[in-house]
Symmetry: C2
Subunit: 470 residues, 2 copies
């Protein structure tokens, strides 16, 4: 791919579109837009110019300019992504939606909220909670990530077992297409078969099929009761074996989170947290919510009984919100804790059929030994989504690390495929997994994706180089 450079004339035109103060060029602030939460050394790339539009029309005008001049445009939310999706790999224009963070409408009668793409997920959650309403999306980066990013990545998180992922709550979205047209897809509708479901195609397309500028989200009544349970097990296998047993009971927990010893130990040390985990080799953190406190308690105790009957060392039921918040904080901070402990690592996101999770663990042990790296494992066990993390041994040189990591990932992904799984459950392909996608995907499927990308983005300017090459 060859693109035109961002010339002074282009910058002048961008200034005319979004205003002088909304164009960054030759500015130290640009550095922050050159990476996300993946390794900046491995995937980072600076944009030539950053634009910070405040309206959909400005976004559309920038995209039309990019098409005319053949300059790549990379849309960006909070930059909290974990696969490099928001990195401007070909330079060009970085378009951040950070100044588009308004509430457009809270529609109580239809139980929907319409927001701009740049609203922080937690801000949205608090805003609707004040009205007794609940947004069920809950990525682990909930305090920083933007709704637009959640939509672009089809974010999952800690409540997906019961509530599903972001896409289930996206009723409508305003899209600036790769050629700079503006269109609303979907609406405040519970069902709709008036043509192809383009809205759901855009969800999870990582900004390669256009820029989402507004989103209509479905809300539900705020659950009146929620409680959590922490169960300690001798081995990861014992913990993981519980997951299909729980799911088969007719109880649908909000989330079933798994952590192996290395994961919770590292996170507890990072947080100075003193969970009484003793000799436990693995934990399950299970949440149940609902509208009836007695029912929630009964379900939680039923799960607790099941855990005890199947070998749990200890079962703690989090009676108060403070304890619950401490437990979740340990879970949420694992990735950050590992980053501090060992900055060179590869955070993975494989997903397998729930009943196949136990088959993944011995493979991780085998790969850990074969490639000389620790591979702690934690994640959303109720979804079959495991964040195995390859951690570089400080003694290993960087060259060996990269070679071993790539070889290990290739094996891990093939194992995942052979178990009926996929290489990303919620983080996306982006740059990080692009070199591996072909190896584990039917070429017919990739070609069908490419055909859509080519048809919608003939100049290939919309977030090029992500997921696959065109």
């Amino acid at each position: 791919m060859s693109y035109a450079p961002v010339t002074p004339a282009v910058v002048a035109e961008l200034r005319a579109i979004v205003g002088d103060k909304s164009v960054l060029v030759d500015d130290e602030r640009i550095e922050a837009y050159g990476h996300d939460e993946t390794s900046a050394e491995e995937y980072g790339h600076l944009p030539e110019v950053v634009v910070l539009p405040t309206t959909t029309e400005q976004v559309a005008a920038v995209v039309r300019l990019a098409n005319r001049e053949r300059i790549p445009v990379t849309p960006r939310g909070a930059g909290s992504g974990l696969s490099g999706g928001a990195i401007p790999s070909f330079g060009g224009i970085l378009l951040s939606v950070e100044r588009m963070d308004r509430l457009i409408e809270l529609d109580r009668a239809n139980m929907t909220v319409t927001v701009e793409a740049g609203m922080v997920t937690n801000d949205l959650a608090h805003l609707v909670q004040a009205e007794g309403l609940f947004f069920a999306g809950y990525p682990m980066s909930v305090e920083t990530c933007f709704i637009g990013g959640n939509v672009a990545e089809n974010a999952g998180g800690g409540k997906a077992v019961k509530y599903g992922v972001t896409g289930r709550y996206v009723l409508g979205l305003e899209l600036v297409t790769p050629t700079g047209d503006v269109v609303w897809l979907g609406g405040k509708l519970a069902k709709d078969v008036s043509g192809y479901d383009l809205k759901q195609l855009v969800v999870g397309s990582e900004g390669t099929l256009g820029i989402v500028t507004q989103v209509i989200l479905r809300l539900i009544a705020y659950p009146k009761a929620a409680s959590d349970l922490l169960a300690l097990f001798r081995t990861p296998r014992e913990a993981i074996d519980l997951v299909p047993l729980i799911m088969g009971q007719g109880i649908v927990p909000t989330g079933i989170e798994f952590m192996d010893r290395l994961s919770f130990q590292t996170s507890c040390a990072y947080l100075n947290e003193t969970l009484p985990y003793g000799e436990a080799g693995a934990m399950l953190l299970i949440e149940v919510d609902g509208n009836d406190a007695a029912r929630v308690e009964a379900e939680l105790f039923a799960i607790g009984d099941l855990c005890e009957k199947h070998g749990a060392l200890e079962v703690y039921v989090g009676e108060d919100r403070t304890t619950i918040e401490r437990l979740w904080s340990v879970r949420r901070n694992i990735a950050e804790a590992f980053k501090v402990a060992s900055p060179v690592q590869s955070l993975e996101d494989i997903v397998v059929p729930v009943a196949r999770i136990p088959d993944v663990l011995p493979e991780l042990e085998r790969l850990s030994a074969a490639y000389g790296m620790q591979i702690p494992c934690y994640g959303h066990a109720g979804d079959g989504n495991l964040h195995a993390t390859l951690v570089k041994d400080p003694a290993m040189d960087l060259g060996t690390w990269h070679a071993n990591k790539d070889a290990c990932l290739r094996e891990l992904y093939r194992v995942t495929r052979d178990l009926g799984g996929k290489i990303s459950g919620e983080h996306g392909i982006g740059l990080k997994r692009k070199p591996f996608l072909d190896d584990v995907t039917n070429p017919v499927e990739i070609e069908l994706m490419r055909a859509i990308k080519r048809a919608w983005d003939p100049a290939n300017v919309m977030n090029p180089g992500k997921i696959f090459d065109v």
Copy 2:
């Protein structure tokens, strides 16, 4: 569009692919494949040949032949569709999946079932119920429709308020692409962002993006308790106004069905059913299910209280399965009852934001008066999905009927759009609504759809002429 005819040489080749007994040509059985549940006079068209493959490879070979010869292929399930999607408008090859009705796998551990596209929905439901599992799809034609058809149309039905539509349960599908390749999309996975969500794009695409041959469906534990409530109201408005009130309570009924007087009267007469509806002008039929009988009862009584507080004439709680089944039978048979009472009609499927339903009813009255036709209304009120039905007055001549019907539909669809709605919630566009789609849809959206269709089906042989023209 111009296509090649099905020559004797093509028939011979089809016989070689699927076997002599699986090719119908010059056969009186072909007539049945020339229409669906829409008016045969208005939309019907005979195929040149019918093929009845039994394997995915046969389907793929037929599609490759069609591409080579430029002959249209129309996939067909049970023929219970309501928008003409399975009608071979350009003749050519009608490919029925009726002989592909096998259970491939019931996976208890992962709570999934894999079936061929030709399995009848009710057969599937019974099969998994025997294992304590539940398939939440529930189209009104559940006794005849095929799973493949449900997927192609993204069927809704009577349980969608709580459980969503078919697409939510489709975890994976085997697709024969428009060019005759075979690919599995998705898998037994709770989440997956490894590239575009092509599976969900195929769901609801009405057979224009390929032929679904197998489907992996997500199952849930069979709800241990279910009960229903029938509430009678003086006017449709009073009934409909209850819907957003119920939805705002944090109770999620399985279904909220609405019937106006003309609808239930006609269905009761057809069934010789003696519901005590007295002077009621409208009914709500509400189902609640769950795993706790006491909770189900409490929720149902809470809904009943709400109905009484807001003017219900009577509230009946269906204590036994027989009464419940009678109520649902009245609801399910409305369409059939009207067909018998007045065979010339147009069954509609508009969907609006739930809180806007009350605004639809006076518009229906206005249109009824303006165009001289009865417009009974019933449907899935909890989803905002209303089956208004335009019924020809026996005294009106056919020419006037067609002109008035088209003019009335054009108005109805514009009203629906202006309320934030769409012209089809679950029946699809097909042939029936194609002439109206452009009028109520942003041309950018149609063009994005067309771009996908062109890219996947360059010879335009896969169910051509449906939804939009290429």
